[in-house]
Symmetry: D2
Subunit: 511 residues, 4 copies
């Protein structure tokens, strides 16, 4: 058993919840749906993200860009019926849009290349001046409806993953820079205080970053922030019709990646520019069952703990399984990205986020399995985790490794003789709705009663204790972390009123 001594204070060390800045969503058009909005309300109540980012704002289902064929001309028409309804909903739920500008409206597209089940057109505009007019019309409408003060707080990100052929025709870097330049100037023309950035690339293509920043510098194109994505799934990939499996890198792999990018930015002409990871997760596939597992939570814990050293935003992709990139979901659990499964059932990773939302600002201790913080009211909040990885490669190993719990003893200085401790845990047995659903025979379209049972299974284990500080002024906390466990411990002061109950004798009721 490892013994860890927490210091009473660490000067100047704060815990920054970069993961709370933003969360991803399925295509923006899905935000018209009731189940989507219920899931978002639930997520906002329990976690409370600041921004939301998704694809498809300019795609045809949201319906902003239209053209009217009049006698002598074709006139653009900008339709804000749906986007108003959607952004109103977001702001009502106290979440702001992190505006991704894309994809291409059919009528503006230079080609017919599409991506996804919902047919996102991913070609450059056929007319950049019409594109610029569209961008200006959209931004002006936002300002007119929500006010300039509000819209200046919305980052505008140009396109998504242009370094991939599927997302941007031929993954043409120069064409993207052109798009970026036109778009950035259009936005700043409306108001110079608006924020614009890019290049929204996926991992493995960081030469784009260098080139992008050089381009902006040389061409004097405005850039207020840099964006990139980060997934930790590696090759090879095993594909099935509605299912894929992948190996996952160790969790320090992503942390190292982020540090590298931070250095790229700081070595560029834009040193210190805000750096937003606008998508991250384990796998980049919405059909990888890993997203539904407790492992996903236990694995990402370290990233939530350490990545804020390098990034300003770390946006989990995505908050809900209301999502359609590959197709309409075919079963309750199906490997979707969501923190929340269909029918508004929280997955283990939801609890990871809700646990980390309890962390304090003052960081007292951190290692690869533990984060200890103090909150403003003096109470202690700590999270501990124990991922046990069995990816496709490991899976073939014989015999399977039977993991032992990780035993920790943590000594925490506390100024009072006693403390109240509240502990919440997810692991293979608790907060694991996937397991219960598997036991039920994986019903694809479960009845309401079945859904209710799965929902009950999604609750973390809960327990409370009363602890005494020892002679050394420390609370001695022992944790036995099971397979893929994430545990939240909150320690608060006791204001004991027991003595005011006259005649009290707990033996009388069996204690």
């Amino acid at each position: 058993m490892e013994t860890i001594r927490i210091p009473a204070t660490v000067k100047g060390k704060t815990y920054k919840a970069a993961w709370k800045q933003c969360v991803g969503t399925g295509r923006i058009g899905l935000a018209l749906q009731k189940e989507y909005l219920e899931a978002l309300e639930f997520v906002q109540e329990e976690i409370g993200f600041s921004y939301i980012r998704g694809h498809g704002l300019l795609s045809d289902d949201v319906g902003i860009y239209r053209e009217d064929r009049l006698e002598n001309e074709i006139k653009p028409f900008y339709n804000f019926t749906y986007v108003d309804r959607i952004f109103d909903s977001f702001l009502d739920l106290k979440i702001r849009p992190f505006v991704e500008l894309g994809f291409m409206p059919k009528k503006l597209a230079s080609g017919d290349q599409t991506l996804f089940y919902w047919q996102a057109n991913t070609t450059p505009p056929k007319d950049y001046s019409k594109w610029a007019e569209l961008i200006k019309a959209v931004v002006k409408h936002f300002i007119s409806r929500y006010g300039l003060e509000e819209v200046r707080q919305w980052p505008f990100e140009v396109w998504n993953e242009p370094n991939l052929r599927g997302f941007w025709k031929d993954a043409d870097m120069q064409e993207y820079f052109k798009l970026y330049k036109v778009t950035a100037h259009a936005i700043k023309e409306v108001d110079s205080g608006l924020k614009v950035g890019g290049p929204a690339i996926c991992g493995g293509a960081d030469h784009w970053l260098t080139a992008f920043l050089d381009f902006c510098h040389k061409e004097q194109v405005p850039v207020d922030f840099v964006t990139r994505h980060a997934y930790t799934s590696s090759r090879p990939v095993k594909f099935f019709p509605h299912l894929i499996y992948q190996d996952i890198y160790e969790n320090d792999h992503m942390i190292n990646e982020l540090r590298t990018v931070r250095e790229i930015i700081d070595n560029s002409p834009f040193s210190g520019l805000p750096f937003h990871i606008t998508e991250f997760n384990t796998s980049w596939s919405p059909w990888n069952p890993i997203h539904d597992t407790v492992f996903n939570a236990a694995y990402l814990a370290r990233i939530l703990s350490e990545a804020p050293d390098y990034v300003d935003t770390l946006s989990y992709w995505t908050f809900s399984d209301v999502f359609e990139e590959n197709d309409v979901p075919r079963s309750l659990f199906h490997g979707g990205f969501g923190l929340v499964a269909l029918n508004n059932i929280p997955k283990p990773t939801f609890h990871l986020f809700s646990f980390f939302a309890k962390m304090g600002d003052e960081e007292l201790y951190r290692d690869k399995n533990l984060l200890v913080t103090r909150r403003k009211d003096g109470s202690i909040a700590l999270a501990a985790w124990n991922p046990v990885y069995f990816g496709p490669t490991a899976a073939t190993a014989e015999p399977p490794v039977v993991p032992k719990p990780k035993e920790l003893e943590i000594l925490i200085p506390f100024p009072k003789e006693e403390a109240f401790l509240k502990k919440q845990t997810i692991n293979e047995d608790y907060g694991n709705p996937l397991k219960t659903w598997m036991q039920m025979g994986r019903p694809r379209f479960p009845s309401k009663a079945m859904v209710e049972t799965v929902r009950q299974a999604a609750r973390p284990h809960f327990s409370t204790y009363r602890l005494q500080t020892g002679g050394d002024g420390n609370l001695r906390l022992r944790l036995s972390l099971g397979k893929n466990e994430v545990t939240l411990v909150e320690i608060t002061e006791i204001n004991d009123e027991t003595g005011t109950y006259i005649g009290l004798d707990d033996r009388m009721i069996g204690y």
Copy 2:
């Protein structure tokens, strides 16, 4: 370990949920309060009682009986403002009034004897004809507002515990019979299809029952049902300013009592008359901490299981701690009767009721720790419990007995190879909000955050399993019942769709 073999079927044996027929409430006037109504809504959603019964319908705070002093006369005025609001609320929540007619409006009272903090006047009417007019006016108003068909379903019970001096001046039996006779005739005069009964006595005075039935028979007074109360607390009582402790009889004590009363009725001229226990609980005091314990639940389980053999109604006293007989509650937990504590926190006994609400109609097996039923859809629901009694007397015994878990093996015939099992448990560690509140230092007026923690502590333990039937066609279920545990097990058929997921390989995600 005990092994119990459940038969596949037992001819004609049904489980009758007499405890679901009715629940008690604090004085009717409290039903104007928001917290009261929220608790009732919660109870109705999770348990769903048919009737609700409480004191004080005719007391001055509900305000039905008033008098106007005109020039030459004093005229009664019947004010239904509050009672309409209250009964509307009840019916909206799908619970009907079990109408207790009492206590005495001041203006009609023959004396000034009062009971309770809220000053219920417990003297006979000073003018029986005015009383009869009042009863008729009330009943007619009910019919006018809710319809005759509805009101014929409401039992009218005359007074409460007239065999106690506090509740009825001098506990005068003949005076009560007079009151009963006048009241019963007044009701039947309005409509002969209305139901009236009594004598609503507490335990230990069953000679009243014999006398009452004889009286009704001889005087030809209508009687549609017999009512009585039942508490299992024995003497001596330890009193403190806001706290009392009592010994509790073994739980078969109440069952024997009820059997005896059933025999009294069946040996009277009214053999077979419906018999309603209109109040039951362990202690009769709203300041006995036993009501907040897991023991209270584990102890009463057997009564819920067996009492329906003898009674038609078994009405738990009461559904909520919104209650004022002794005073306004002075702390979150205070020994109140409620299934639900203040702030709408379910106590262990709430879960006892919600578990029993899952039982099926077909009784397969019963002993003093176990009830096994089959539901209409073929699924199995069983409850098991293990009360470990430490009353005031036992409490002084040295050394304290350390209880061991009760180990059961239950063999349940099941027609399929596999079954899905859902188990919910309360015991000293789960579904025990009292324990967490004690650890917090028993905050009398807890903050919202504290209340939230106590609420989380009130959830039962939840787990699910997949079971195989053995060669003998039985599921083999092992239960280890901890101290004061109550466990609900539900066993349902599996319609396995696992084979439809092409490429599925759970080893890939670590299973």
Copy 3:
């Protein structure tokens, strides 16, 4: 002024609310949306339709039919994720699906002809046996989820308007009969108690009805009901990019049409077969501003009053402007079919329906401007209307006709000396949100404050009176019906308690 004497009773004459049986909806996939469901909840609370019918159940956005490409075969996959969510919502709102089976899933389609902005494929199946398998799978799933008893109450209608080339390739009658036959047999194979019908044609093609019934008779194909549509817009049509105008027939035109169809059915081998108008309205275009006017309500009143003589169902097309056939709506009002506009604002026709929902079962009097009924409790409900038509043709007439109010005097026998009268009215000035929106400058994407003002403008005029019956035992009711007015009058008995207020003197407060 016209004087109308209402008889005290008319033997055997009942008013049948055929228009309450069913209501139309935009494509079924829209039922996932929050605004759609809020509008439906509102409509159900105020009007309460029994069934809902819309296109696109089998289209790709609902996503039921999919195919998986395995190594050696292509396997159909039936995905009920969305349809379950949708039908669950319907049943929660106490409205049942009137199931229209269509359009063609892409993977099953024999061609690529599509209709509507949302690209409904309107070609026959390329493989009728796969189609039959799909139908059976869908119906079986419904039964498994909702129970046979429930699904037997859902009519299954085969396709939509096959007599139009846009809706059915080449408007091929024989191909439709084939589709009908295969579908009907597939349904009855699952359960012979299920109900199936067709041919869902639009008006102006009633030879299809004769041919269809002959076909069913000769080929012994099951048919449980006949369906057809009815719109009253005539030619010519004036088209603009997002707007059309049409002349409208007099309102007896539709009534005559329905009588004719009823005769066709009764002269066929299926005399007496239920006849459902599964779509009706004035214009068949979702971009005709007539739908937003008070005229639309005043005009349709007579049809609601008289059409039930001939039809079993009269389904208004549609309940809400959440609708996408031509495109996403481009402004708050845009000529959509809905009873309810975007943002859940009731249009005048909504109030027509909510007024008629107050009619009693006993019809006392009817003419082309008036319907008088008695309700079960003896109260009188009457509706009066005064459409003043100015269609495109009339619009060009000079000078415009200034309509005078229609003055009515109605003598209604009433058994008491006094009556309470409640009157609700819509006309050009009240319940006319379109007018207020026009005054505001027709804001396409109005702010929340603007929407609130339009919503206030949507409320009917409300007034109440106390009437005395004259010496002849009649209430004398005078109505002055303004342009396009619809008025609901409800007359109820008074149980006067004024005399119980001692000292009352209304002069003291200025009366």
Copy 4:
């Protein structure tokens, strides 16, 4: 017809909504009730008061002060169970307590004099040190639960109307000063930043104010604000068992009264001290039908318009008819003080307040029937009113005066060619639920359907217009103010999009 020219701007003239600062409530204990809280939520949504003030915080039903009899002593016990629930509710509804400290807990009382149906004890404390301890305990608890920053914003007012014998034994001024001194010091002892004031007298006893301020000055007793009440009912009073009638002074009577008090304060050693009218209304009786009339609204309009010249707070007594001073209400309307009647029906005076809540900060014009303001966004909001008084005295005059509407022409400078005008009106025919209820026969305990009809009758008349500015740059607004009418007019700019609808021709739909 009177013509009024509104100036384009008036330097430095602001309209101060002193009436929005606070509202009165029935005894604080009623705030546990559901109907009370629903009414308060409704009032807060539509009007939005800052503070709420009522009697009985320290009375026995709220239950704060208790005593425990121990072996050797009697110990005070402070029970915050109910007050926490109540104040939590207030703050959730965004309304703060204006804390009235009273009345006397029985156990602390020096006598048994009580007032009201609910038996408020109105005698001095029998032990001032125990009283001081109580005050400190209460204030400390508030700070501990809600924070010092919050509680510093709560005014603490000592007692209620001590100048009346009913409210304070013998109306003993010196005894009150003693109470005030002890209380003020107790509060400041807890925190000197807390605010305390008095003497909460009713009208007609302003020598108390002078004496009170002199006392505070001489004795150096803290005083942060002065409080007083103001009712406009005069003598004689006609009493009936549940009804009273009174004459009402002209509405400038109260305005003059308030000016006088302001001068008294400013001539005292505490010149400029905040002055709060902690109760105002027409009649001081909860059984005077005037409160239910449209007259009450039209009459008070001028006071809302002008009183803010002299007072900082003008607290309407009370927000709801959930009120019990004389007895439980005996009928839907009964002359209660409430802005909102039982069943949450808004009375005319509710609309007076909701109309005035729309006024802007910039006052452009004011006379005794009109207030014109400009809002921050440049829009105009004006209120006009026309009270026609028929009190008991006038009522006997023969023949009754038939009032003519008051005709106004108002010229309002407006910077655009057109404007959108929204008008809301209450008068004898609209927003007058009392009238409809009278027509129904004044049902004391109306059915739900009756309540719904009365609720519909409570809606103001609503209309909208489009106005052109004339050549002089003015909008010409004509108002015809009926008997007891209050009208709100809001005038906003139009951003006209009509021209963007291609092909639009309103003649085609009859316009």
